[in-house]
């Protein structure tokens, strides 16, 4: 017979830690995403001076465990007087900041590879066609290359952010009390591993479900050209205006 009072109590404690998990998640994928753009840019550069370090970065951060990266940031940085005396120290001594930094550095490596995969998948003929229209540089990137690459990379990226959601659990090992950390504390106090596990698992599964729906929706929104032709206007998410009206509005 499940012990409902205990389960409700546990659920309450775990949900109280949910904001921390979400903050870790959102901050780390945002910072990691920006970082990944720079790394991808360097990685596909024809200059060895740029592409080699990027290649090294990706190799190191994808090839070693996230925990060791996070400990390196949390314990390793503070070892150096230069860091301790710098203006960043008040921020860098915070476990939360270290956790976000560790997560972001790691996901940047994975995301960079995913973005590169998306870029490689952009058909050369379509870039050629854009050049033939006189596009180049940033305009070409913004109008043609990036939209196609992002659509190509989206499925892999949605897998990556679910992995990141799970990875936020490691923050508890540098004393940031997010959901898994709180769960561990309750387990070691009560020894009711299964009940606590099920509560925490339920939270993560709901989070994953929401993420899957969000990225799935985004993918659907971004790829109208891959969908079956809607049989009626109401069938599509974003029904196309009738041709005449469409022409008029763009004209």
């Amino acid at each position: 017979m499940p012990d409902f009072p205990f389960i409700f109590d546990t659920m309450g404690k775990l949900l109280a830690a949910l904001p921390t998990t979400l903050e870790l998640f959102i901050l780390s994928i945002s910072v990691g995403g920006v970082l990944a753009c720079f790394i991808t840019w360097a990685r596909i550069s024809p200059y060895k001076l740029l592409s080699l370090p990027a290649r090294g970065y990706i190799f190191v951060f994808r090839g070693s465990p996230l925990l060791i990266q996070m400990f390196l940031v949390y314990y390793g940085l503070g070892q150096f007087a230069v860091v301790r005396h710098s203006i960043f120290w008040p921020v860098l001594r915070e476990p939360f900041v270290c956790a976000v930094l560790g997560l972001a550095l790691c996901t940047a490596g994975y995301t960079a590879e995913i973005l590169r995969g998306g870029l490689i998948a952009v058909p050369a003929q379509q870039i050629e066609a854009a050049r033939a229209c006189g596009m180049s540089g940033l305009l070409l990137l913004r109008r043609v290359i990036a939209p196609i690459a992002i659509r190509q990379a989206l499925p892999a990226y949605s897998t990556e952010i679910i992995l990141m959601m799970k990875s936020t659990a490691l923050a508890s090992l540098v004393t940031v009390w997010e959901v898994t950390g709180v769960a561990q504390r309750i387990i070691s106090q009560t020894y009711r591993a299964m009940d606590v596990f099920l509560c925490a698992a339920a939270i993560y599964l709901v989070l994953n479900f929401v993420l899957v729906k969000l990225t799935g929706g985004l993918e659907y929104y971004l790829t109208p050209h891959l969908r079956a032709r809607p049989t009626s206007l109401s069938a599509g998410l974003r029904p196309l205006p009738p041709p005449a009206a469409g022409d008029a509005s763009h004209g």
């Binding site: 070693s64 465990p65 060791i68 659990a169 898994t180 561990q184 020894y191 596990f197 698992a201």
Partner: protein
């Protein structure tokens, strides 16, 4: 330099310990992969089964263990295992708390996670086996078990090889989390060395480098195996 001494094999050096940690990491990962292979095969079979209940069970397994933090799985196996072992111990007359052996807990936890990924690998590999070849095996009168052993299993293993390489890398990195149970694998040893010498940066870098050595070595092993299989197995020419 003092720091080089710390990484060396002398009396004050941690080199030997770190290498032992590497061996332990390899052993945990390898055991986990084996446990995961059994679980993964069972779950894949359930997901391909005609029974709706088995399909649901298989799907639930992969959803849960691919969706929940690895650390949480390690906690539940370690603490849950200890609770079970303690109560069994009390039944047999032992007193007090008995800890679940951390190697078994770690290998089991990583194995359970690995199993959820391996299940998907095997399922995909099975679906890649040409239906016609299975039918040909039926048409020559091969009984079910022989069909599985001689025609299906060898092909599934070959199709699964690239996916298994990925799962191995994943499990290798997951095994670092087993350090929370106190098992002296590479992560834990780096941690202890870093703590007792106060040389955090040095030892985490050293540990990280050793992980990189392990991941790139195993990458090469899998690449070579794949190349060998590809040479004999799949040509580009049309198959029916």
């Amino acid at each position: 330099m003092d720091q080089i001494m710390l990484l060396g094999f002398g009396t004050k050096g941690w080199g030997g310990m770190l290498l032992l940690g590497m061996v332990m990491t390899f052993l945990v990962t390898f055991t986990a992969l084996a446990i995961g292979a059994v679980l993964g095969a069972l779950v894949a079979w359930a997901r391909l089964s005609r029974s709706r209940l088995a399909r649901f069970g298989g799907e639930a397994y992969t959803t849960v263990f691919r969706g929940v933090p690895e650390l949480l799985v390690i906690y539940v196996v370690y603490f849950g295992g200890s609770t079970v072992v303690t109560s069994v111990g009390q039944l047999l007359g032992a007193e007090g708390f008995i800890g679940f052996p951390s190697f078994i807990a770690g290998a089991l936890a990583v194995g359970v996670i690995s199993g959820s990924y391996q299940a998907e690998v095997y399922r995909g590999a099975f679906q890649a086996v040409a239906r016609g070849e299975i039918e040909a095996a039926r048409s020559v009168g091969m009984p079910t078990l022989m069909r599985f052993r001689r025609i299906i299993a060898p092909q599934v293993m070959r199709f699964a090889l690239p996916g298994l390489g990925n799962v191995w890398q994943l499990s290798l990195k997951d095994s670092a989390l087993v350090s929370v149970t106190g098992l002296a694998e590479l992560m834990r040893t780096s941690q202890v060395a870093a703590g007792s010498t106060r040389q955090y940066f040095l030892f985490y870098i050293a540990g990280g480098v050793l992980y990189l050595v392990m991941t790139s070595l195993s990458n090469q092993v899998f690449d070579r195996a794949e190349a060998r299989v590809a040479r004999s197995f799949r040509g580009g020419l049309g198959r029916g």
